[in-house]
Symmetry: D3
Subunit: 162 residues, 6 copies
C-alpha cells in the first residue's frame, strides 16, 4: 500500500467568518417574475386568482415567508439569522406577468440577500404549484436582487452597482 493524499485546505467549501463584522441594520429586496401563457393568465384572472388548490397569492406569500426563515437550511454557507422583517408582495405588471417582491431585514453581522432571493423564489415556485393543473408552460424568469442596504456594498437605485 502506497502513500496518501495531501488535502489542500485552499479552495475547500467554507462558510465566511462574520464574527468580526459589526451588527448593523441590513435589508435586501429581491424580485422574481412568473410568466403565464395568455390563456392561463386569462383563466386565473377570471377566477379571482384562486385555483382549485386555493388562493394563489396568499399561499405563495405564506410559503415564501416561511422559506425566508429556512434559507440557511437550504443554502449551504448561509448563516442562520433572527429575521426581523419579511414582506412579500405580488403584482401583475401586465396581464401575463406576476412580479413577486420580497424584502427582508435584520439587525445582524451579515446581509440578507439570499433570504430575499429565496423568499421570492419559493413564492414563485408556489405560484407554479398552485397553477400547474392549468399548464406546465408557466415560467419563472428573472430572479434578481434589486436592493441591499447596511453592508459594505449597497445595491439598488442610487448605488454604484445595479
Amino acid at each position: 500500500m502506497g502513500g496518501f493524499t495531501h488535502i489542500d485546505a485552499e479552495g475547500r467549501p467554507a462558510m465566511v467568518d462574520v464574527g468580526d463584522k459589526p451588527s448593523t441594520r441590513r435589508s435586501a429586496t429581491a424580485e422574481a417574475c412568473v410568466r403565464f401563457p395568455p390563456e392561463v393568465a386569462d383563466e386565473l384572472h377570471r377566477s379571482g386568482l384562486r385555483s382549485a388548490k386555493g388562493p394563489v397569492i396568499d399561499t405563495a406569500i405564506i410559503a415564501g415567508t416561511m422559506a425566508v426563515k429556512r434559507t440557511h437550511e437550504l443554502i449551504p454557507f448561509c448563516h442562520p439569522l433572527p429575521v426581523e422583517r419579511c414582506r412579500i408582495t405580488a403584482d401583475f405588471i401586465d396581464p401575463t406577468r406576476l412580479l413577486i417582491r420580497c424584502e427582508v431585514a435584520v439587525d445582524h453581522k451579515t446581509g440578507v440577500e439570499m433570504e430575499a432571493l429565496t423568499g421570492a423564489t419559493v413564492a414563485a415556485l408556489t405560484v407554479y404549484d398552485m397553477c400547474k393543473a392549468l399548464s406546465h408552460a408557466i415560467v419563472i424568469g428573472e430572479v434578481r436582487l434589486v436592493g441591499k442596504t447596511g453592508g459594505k456594498r449597497e445595491v439598488g437605485p442610487g448605488s454604484d452597482t445595479p
Copy 2:
C-alpha cells in the same frame, strides 16, 4: 385577452416588522391539559406513567422542548428566536387530568407566547401518542397562555388582562 388584476397589498399575509422594537428579556408561560378516561388514567398510574412506548412524561417534555425551538417553522409569521430558557412540567391536578406547563424566555425584540403555546401543545400531543394504544378517547383541552412579561402588554396574575 382582457385586463389584469390589481392586487391590493392591504390584508395580505405578512410578518410583523419587529426591527424597531427594543431587545428586552421576555418570557411567556402556557398550559395545556390532557384528560384521560378514568380507566386509562388508572392504568397509567398503575404503570408508573410508562406506556409500552416508554416514559410518558419525559418523552413529552423532550418533544415539547424540541418543538419550542421550531415554532417559527410551524407558525407562518413567528420570528426565529434564540430561545434561552424552556422549562416544561407536567402534573396530575386530579387523577384524570394532566396539566402541562411550558415556560419560555428569551432576550429579544418579540415575545415568546407562540413558543410557550407550541411547546405545551406538542408535549400534550406526545402524551396522546404515548398513550393512544390504551384509548383514542383522550382529549387535549384548554390550551391557554397564563403569563407573559417583557413586552408592551403583560399577561397573568397582577396584570390587567387575564
Copy 3:
C-alpha cells in the same frame, strides 16, 4: 471505582415496529376548537376574518397542512408517512367558537391519528397567532380524534369506541 449500571431494555422509549402490518387505506379525522372572547370574535367577524397579519382561516389551513407532513419530526415515535390526502376546514359553530377539522389519509402500515391531531392543533395555534394582537385570552380547547378507519380499531360514529 465500583460496579456499573445494568440498563433494563424494558420500558425504554421505542417506536412501534410496523414492519409486519399490512399496508391499507387509513384515514383519521381530528378536531380542535378555538374560543374567542366575545369582543374579539365581534371584531374578527367585522373584519371578514382578516387580522393585521392577513387572512386568518387560509393561513391556518396552510400551516396545519404543512404541519401534518412534519408530524413525525415533532412526535418522537411517529412513523414518517407519504401523506396522500389532507383536508382542513374551519367553521364557526357559534359566534365565539371556531371548529377546525383536519382529515388525513394514507395507504400505509400505520394510522394517521397523530397527523390529524397535529394538523388541527397547528391550525388552531396559527389562528391564535394571527389574532393575538387583539387578545391573549383566546383559548384552544377540546382537541380530539373524531374518526379513524383502516386499522385494527375504528373510531367514530358507528364504531365501538367514541
Copy 4:
C-alpha cells in the same frame, strides 16, 4: 354581539387527494439558467469555477439535491415522496450562462415536477450565493419544466404540450 361568519369550504387552500391514483414510475426534468455579468463569468472561468467559498458547481448540485428531498416542506401542497432518483447537472451554454438541469424520478401516486423545479432553483440560488462576493448583478432566469413522464399529462419533446 351579532351573528357569525359562514366560511365557505369552496376555494379554501387544500392539498389534492392522490389516494385513488395508481402508483406509477414518474419523472420530471426542470431547468434553471444563471446569467453572469461578462467580467464575473471571466473571473469564474479563470478560477476553475471555484470561488472563495469553494467549488461552485459541486456545492450547487449538493444543495439542489438536498432541496429536492425537502420540496414538500417548502411548497405547501406538495406531497411527501420517497424520491428514488435525483440527478443535477450544470453546463455553461455560452460563456455567461450556466444551465442547471435537475431530473427527479419516483414510483408514486403523484408527479415530481415541483421537486425538479425546486432542485434546479435551489442549485441556482446556491450558485448565486457562492459567487455573490464577485457581483450582485447575477440573475437567475428562465426556470422551467422541460419534461415529465408517467402521469396523465406528458410534457416535453414528442408530447402535446411544451
Copy 5:
C-alpha cells in the same frame, strides 16, 4: 472575453438511482461507544444515570430515534425512507463504556445503514450533551455497522464481510 468551461458530468456529486431495485425488507444495525473518564462514570452510576439535564439514556434514545427519521436531511445522498422500525438500546459494557446499538428496518428499495449509523451517533452525541457539565473529556469512539440484511450484500455474523 474568452471561452468557457466544459463541465464533465463524470465525478459530479449524485444520488444513486434506486428506481430499478426491488422493494425488500431491509435492516441494519450500528453501534456507537461512549467512553467516560472513570470519575465521570462513577458519578453517573451514583446518580442513577440522571444528569442535571435529566435522564441520560432515555433522552439519548429519543434523540437518536428522531435523528434516524431525518437521516436523509443530514446526509446529502441518502434517500428519504418510510422507516418502519427503530430500536435503540444502550448498555454499559464495562463501568466506563456505554455501548449504543441502533437497529432500523424498512421495506424499501435501498438499505438503512446510514439511518442506523446516524441514530447511534446522534444518541451518542446526546449522551455527551447530557453529561458534558461533568467533563469534556468524554469520547465517542468506534461507530460501526454491525449488521445489514436484505440488500445485495449482507453484513454481520455469518456473512462474508465483517
Copy 6:
C-alpha cells in the same frame, strides 16, 4: 379509581437556562476520525478521493457545515444559535485514517461544543456514505472535543482539562 401520581420536577429533562449568562465570543473545535480498511484507502487515494457518488471531502464538509446549523434540532437541549463561523477540514494523518476537524464560533450566551461535535460527526458519516459502496467495514472512531474558549471552562492545549 384510586389516587394519582405526584410527578417530581427533580430530575426531569430540561434545557439549561442561559438567560443570565453574558454574551461572549465562544469557539469550540472537535475532531472525528474515519478509519478505512487498507484496500479501501488505496482505492480512494487512487481515485483522487472521488467515489461513484462524487467528491468525498467536499461533500462531507458541506454536509457537516449544514449539520452544525441544525445541531439544536438534533440534540434535545441544545440552544438555537446564530452560528458565525464554521470551518471544517479533513486530512489523512496516515494512509488509512482521515481526521476531520470542525471549528465553530459564535458571539452568544452559551458554548458551541455540541455544534463542533455534530459537524465533525455528520461530516464523518457523510464520508462513510460516500464510500460505503467500497466497504461497510469503515469505522468512525474517536470523536472528541479538542478545544473550547470563551465560557467558564476552557478546553485544549494550555488549559487545565484535556
